[in-house]
Amino acid sequence: MRLGMFFREALRSIRANAAISVAATVTALIAVFILGAFIPSFMYVRSAVDAQTAKVDVDVYIADTATVPQVNALREKLDGLRTDGTVAAVTYVSKDDALRIMKERLRDPSVLDELPSNPLPAKFNVQPTEAENADVIVAAVTNDPALDPTEGIVYPESTADRLLTAAKFVQWAGFVLIGILLLAAVLLIGNTIRLSIFARRREVEVMRLVGATNWFIRWPFMIEGVICGLVGAVVAVGMLWGIKVGVVDAWAAGADTALTKTGSAAGTIAFPLLTVVLVGAGALLGAVGSGITLRRFLKV
């Protein structure tokens, strides 16, 4: 009953102050749009970095000419590293396994059938417990007689360290940016609501004069803020969806048409979840923005 009345009051005030309401809505739209573009990008970068750091493993390729005792010696050396905690896991990938994996990654695996023999060497895939341990593993197996002379040891060298630093930086920069964006949005909406209240200062005065309590005055303004925030958020989500379908998905599909499939493990936030987050953020922005602003007006 009362809520209905507050709602009607809010709609009345939106209608009566159309220009300011539109300004508040557009402010919310911009804030939510930037937030909505930023959150998935940030999460994609983070997940890509995570996927990369998880991939800091060392491939030790075995020469086709290596004897069984030589290979066993190499395996023992790696197992020794596992017992002292440097290595998490050692996986043997045979020549046939390597060929099968290659086939899976190709769009047209039939090209491999043309080969006279299997050119891929067997390997030990060594996963270090810590990315920094890669150097220790490399040092231990360098010059081993079983090593394939051409492939040798393949590992991401110092990129591992740089990736870790980058990952931390991206994470913190992301949090700081999101924080700044939210703060800016709250201030912008608050400012817009302040204009709206300023335009109706006399009206608020009259309301107080006839004995309206502060909450009675506040509710319609808060609802007004929430409506502006929601409308802005919904429009922003619509725009983001258009961009996702029209640009991002098309680009991702384009990437798949290359020779290999994009086997990237990096993912991002699901769009429905993002929608919920953004619409919620819009409503919250409106409510907080008007709430903060009203406090100053209702003091006396």
Partner: protein
């Protein structure tokens, strides 16, 4: 038209405004509804008792820069009285009124309204004080984007009345002030006198114990002013205490009510059944 008051009668027994008085053509036949029901209502913050409606004790109000709004005012206004507050601009009339509705707080001294010391009234209770006091201003203070009926309805909604009750009481009170056919007009579509009637209807709709009017006729022509004053008088007759701050010498002289004259923040005169100036009390023709 020189019928003075009978000096022996209590102040709230009113002098009849003669029927020959030129009145606003829109004037309602009578203000006859019982405004006072005597019972203590929900949310009513006034303390029941025989004491005065308004009491000022040594009230001093100093504004920034040492200008004095009020300079030691002590007086009481009894329940049911009709009082004129007169004095030149800057004499402290507005300060006096704003102290009563607690828009201001005294620098020293105390203001009591309806048995409540406003100095001890918590801020959260101020809205309830204002609901018990009806206010009418020179500039009407109507909500510009609401019709006459909506303006009155707002005061009812504020006090938590149901939609049903709003629908019942708003037309009733608007008819009472003589606006039968203007319910759906916006303030700008009404004349000054009509706007003031809407604001009086708004002030009355919550059955206030005290009606305060700050220059209610300041923006109106003399004939319309008479209509408004007549309306205030009829409201007073139902038991509501009425306080009118005014410059309108003619009205004050004609009505012969209690007059409190302020000058430079001091009470310079407080007389029963008087005129605007000391010497014009009896001479009116």
């Amino acid at each position: 038209m020189s019928d003075g008051p009978d000096s022996g009668r209590p102040t709230f027994t009113l002098v009849e405004v003669p029927d020959t008085t030129p009145v606003d053509p829109d004037m309602a036949p009578m203000f006859s509804a019982p405004v006072q029901d005597g019972k203590r209502r929900k949310g009513d913050i006034f303390r029941p008792g025989p004491g005065p409606m308004v009491e000022f004790r040594n009230v001093v109000k100093t504004y920034d820069g040492n200008s004095r709004g009020l300079d030691g005012v002590s007086l009481g206004i009894g329940t049911g009285e009709f009082v004129f507050l007169v004095g030149p601009s800057g004499s402290g009339k507005s300060t006096f009124i704003r102290l009563i509705i607690r828009e201001l707080r005294p620098t020293s001294g105390s203001v009591t309204v309806g048995g409540r010391d406003l100095g001890e009234l918590r801020r959260s209770k101020v809205p309830y004080l204002r609901r018990a006091i009806g206010c009418v201003f020179q500039d009407f203070r109507l909500l510009p984007d609401r019709t006459a009926a909506e303006n009155v309805a707002y005061a009812l909604q504020v006090t938590g009345h149901s939609q049903k009750e709003v629908r019942r009481r708003v037309p009733e009170i608007l008819s009472l002030v003589g606006l039968d056919d203007k319910f759906d007009r916006l303030p700008r579509e009404l004349s000054g006198g009509e706007q003031q009637r809407v604001s009086i209807a708004r002030a009355l709709v919550n059955h206030p114990r005290l009606l305060i009017a700050d220059e209610p006729t300041g923006n109106l022509d003399p004939e319309t002013s008479l209509g408004i004053m007549d309306l205030l008088l009829r409201i007073n007759r139902t038991g509501t205490t009425v306080l009118v701050a005014t410059h309108d010498q003619h009205t004050v002289d004609r009505m012969q009510m209690r007059v409190i004259a302020l000058e430079a923040g001091r009470v310079v005169r407080d007389e029963e059944s008087a005129g605007y100036h000391e010497d014009t009390g009896e001479v009116l023709a």
